[in-house]
Amino acid sequence: PTDPSESGTAGISTEVQAAVDAAYAGTSGPLPETPTVISPDHNVWVVSAFQQISGLAKIASEVEKGADVLGWKSSVCDGQNDPNVWATCVRQATAAGADTIILAGVDCAPVAQAVTEAKEAGVVIAGISAFDCDDPTQGGSASLFDVEPSYSEDFATTADFFTRLGELRADYIISTTNGNAKVLHVAFQGVSIGDYLAKGFVDQLASCSGCEIVETVAVGPADVPNLRQMFETGLLKSAKANVIVADLDFMLALGVQPALEAAGISSDTVVLGGECTVDTIAFMRSGGGANSCIGFSNGRTAWSLLDGINRFRNGDAPAVSTIGWQLMDATNPEVWPAEGEPFEGPIDYSKGYSALWTAAG
C-alpha cells in the first residue's frame, strides 16, 4: 500500500510514519455509545486454548467478570494446548447446557465438527484471538462464528487485523531504522496467527528499498524445544542484522530473550517482540533483549466480545468498538503497564460496558 515515490527525506513514506506515530499514541477508540438491554439468563463457556498463557487466562477471567455483570452463568474449560482437548471442551460445554461458547485462542478448524454439533444444538459461537472456518488458513469453508470482537471498522476479519498488525510491525521497523533495516526474522510456521503476522510483515517490509530480511528462522511447532539453538544459529548467520523480530511473545521466553542477553547485543539493535505479554514487558524493563512490542488490550477485547454476544442475542447490529493497538518501546515507558499487569488500554472498559448494559436495563 505504500508508494515509495512518496517517501520522505529519510526514505520513509508518510503513510508508514503516520501509522507508527498513531501506534505510539495508541489507536484505541471510545467504547460504543448505543446502550443495549441485557439478554437475560445465558450460560457462557469459555474454551481457552491454554490457560497457562497469560493472555488467554486474562480473556477467560474478564469474560467471567463481564458475565457476572450481565447476570449470566460462566465456566472455563482449559484446552491444555491440545487440539483434541479443545474439541472435548466444546462438546463438554454443549453437554453442560451452554448456550454460548467462546473460543479463546482456539481456531475454528480443529474444533469445526464439535462446533457444528454445538450450533445444531442452538449454541451461539464466538471467537476471540481465533480464526473462523471461512478463513483460507482454516480450510476456507463456511463461517461458523456468530460473533467476533469488533477490533475496529477497518478490519472485516480477524485475518485482516493480524495482517495489518504485521504490516504495522514492519512500519515500526522501517521507521526506527530510517528505512535501513537488516532483519533477523523469527517466524512461527504452521499456525494461522503466525502466518498472517509474518505475511503482513514481510510484504510491508518489501516496500522499503533499504530494508532486507537477512535471515529467517522458521520455527514449527515441533521445533519449540530447539528454539534457542535455532535462534542462536540464526543470530550467528546474521551478524549484520540491526533488527530482530520475534512474531510471537512465547518465542522470547523460550530462547530469543536469554540468547540475546547472553550474546550481549548492542543497545541500538531493535528487538521487536510480539503482543506485549506480562513477560515481555518484564524483559523490556530488564533490558538486554526485547525492547519493543505492539499490543492490545485482551481485557477490553473480551468485554467487547460479550457486548457483541449480547447484541447478537438482542438481534442488534454489532457496535463498533475500536480496540486499537499500542506500540511500546523505550520512548514511551509511561504507557507500559505496571509490573506484573497486562496491558489494559487507556479506557476503563469494565466500568464503561457495565454502564452501557445497565443503562438500558
Binding site: A87, A95, A109, P110, P221
Partner: protein, 333 residues
C-alpha cells in the same frame, strides 16, 4: 515390564485379590458418585447428554491406547502410535478432500496406511533386530515431519457428513463412535485374551527365549503385534477424522501421553502387571470422569492438573494397599 513378583502374589480366585484387581474400578465408581451427588456438578454430570459426550470423547483415545497394548504385551513401548493415528487421519482426509476419492476408499486407505507403518516397524524391530524404542521414536518423528511437510501445519477440512456423522451422531442413543470403537476394542480384547496369538504375545513379553523354545515363531508374532498396533492406530486416525471433521496437522505426540497413561494404569487392574483392554477402558473412564467432573465444578485449571496427578497416585496407591490387605504382598526384590 516384567513383574514376576506381582504375579507371585496372585492367588487366583481368592476373593481378596478381587479387591486389588478392581481397586481402580471401585475408584471410578466412587468418583462417579462424588460428582453425581455434588450439588454443583450433579444434575448436569449425570444427564444423558453429558454421559454420552463423556464416552464419545474417549473413542479415539481408546483406539490409540489399545494400539499401545499390543506391543506392550510383548514388552515394547511403541512411541509411534500417536503419530501413526495423526498421519492416518491426514491420509484419509487428503484422499477425500484433495484427491476426491470416495469416503470408504479414503477411510480404508487411512487404515491401511497405519497397517503399513506398523508392518514396517515390525519388520525393522522383529526381523531387523533394531532397538524398538529408538525405531518407534524415529518413525514417529519422521511421520510428524511428513505431516507438516504435506499440510504445512494447516488442517484438512471439508470432510463430508457421510463420515463425520460417525463422529457426532448416535445409534440407539449411543454415540456411533463409541459403538465402533467398542466393537474394535472387543476384537482387540478377543485377540489378546482369547486366542493363541494373544497368549503367545504375553508369553513373549514375559520370557521371549522360553516362548521361542516352545516353538512359537517369536518374530512373526512380534511383527503381527506391530501390524495390529498400526492398524488400530490407523483406525484411531480415521475415527479422529470423523470426530473432528478434519485431519489434524499436529504430529500426534499429544495423543501419546494420555494413551500411555491409560495403558500403564491398565496394568494395575484385572490382570495385575499386564496391560489389558478392559483395564484400558476402566483407566480411560477414570481419567475422563475426573476431567469432566472437575470442569463442571469449575475449579481452576491448575486444580484440575494437580487433581489429575493426585488421582494417578491415589489409584496406584489404592491398588497397592489392596494388595497388602490380601496379605500376600511379596518381598519386593
Amino acid at each position: 515390564m516384567k513383574s514376576s513378583e506381582s504375579a507371585l502374589a496372585r492367588q487366583p480366585l481368592a476373593w481378596r485379590s478381587i479387591i486389588e484387581r478392581y481397586a481402580l474400578l471401585a475408584l471410578v465408581i466412587a468418583e462417579f458418585l462424588v460428582f453425581a451427588l455434588n450439588p454443583v456438578s450433579g444434575d448436569i454430570f449425570v444427564s444423558a447428554l453429558n454421559l454420552r459426550t463423556l464416552i464419545a470423547n474417549q473413542g479415539v483415545a481408546l483406539m490409540i491406547a489399545v494400539a499401545l497394548v499390543f506391543p506392550l504385551a510383548a514388552g515394547i513401548f511403541d512411541f509411534s502410535v500417536g503419530a501413526v493415528a495423526a498421519s492416518s487421519s491426514v491420509v484419509a482426509g487428503a484422499a477425500i478432500v484433495n484427491f476426491g476419492l470416495p469416503v470408504p476408499v479414503a477411510v480404508a486407505l487411512g487404515v491401511v496406511f497405519g497397517s503399513i507403518v506398523g508392518c514396517l516397524l515390525g519388520l525393522m524391530i522383529a526381523y531387523g533386530g533394531v532397538n524398538p524404542f529408538i525405531a518407534t521414536l524415529g518413525v514417529a518423528t519422521l511421520i510428524g515431519g511428513g505431516i507438516f511437510a504435506y499440510t504445512g501445519g494447516l488442517r484438512i477440512t471439508g470432510i463430508p457428513p457421510e463420515w463425520t456423522d460417525l463422529g457426532s451422531r448416535d445409534w440407539f442413543g449411543i454415540p456411533r463412535i463409541v459403538i465402533v470403537a467398542g466393537v474394535i476394542a472387543f476384537v482387540a480384547w478377543w485377540l489378546l485374551s482369547q486366542t493363541v496369538f494373544g497368549r503367545r504375545l504375553f508369553a513373549i513379553g514375559s520370557n521371549a527365549r522360553a516362548t521361542q523354545l516352545l516353538g512359537a515363531d517369536v518374530k512373526r508374532i512380534q511383527l503381527l503385534a506391530f501390524v495390529a498396533s498400526g492398524t488400530l492406530a490407523g483406525i484411531g486416525g480415521v475415527l479422529l477424522l470423523a470426530r473432528n471433521g478434519g485431519a489434524t496437522s499436529d504430529n500426534g505426540m499429544m495423543m501419546l501421553f494420555p494413551a500411555l497413561t491409560a495403558v500403564l494404569l491398565s496394568t494395575i487392574v484385572i490382570d495385575i502387571g499386564r496391560p489389558s483392554v478392559p483395564g484400558v477402558v476402566i483407566a480411560i473412564l477414570f481419567i475422563a470422569i475426573t476431567v469432566s467432573g472437575l470442569t463442571l465444578i469449575g475449579t481452576p485449571s491448575w486444580v484440575n492438573q494437580m487433581f489429575n496427578g493426585a488421582a494417578l497416585l491415589i489409584a496406584v496407591g489404592v491398588a497397592r494397599l489392596a494388595k497388602q490387605r490380601t496379605g500376600t504382598a511379596p518381598r519386593r526384590a
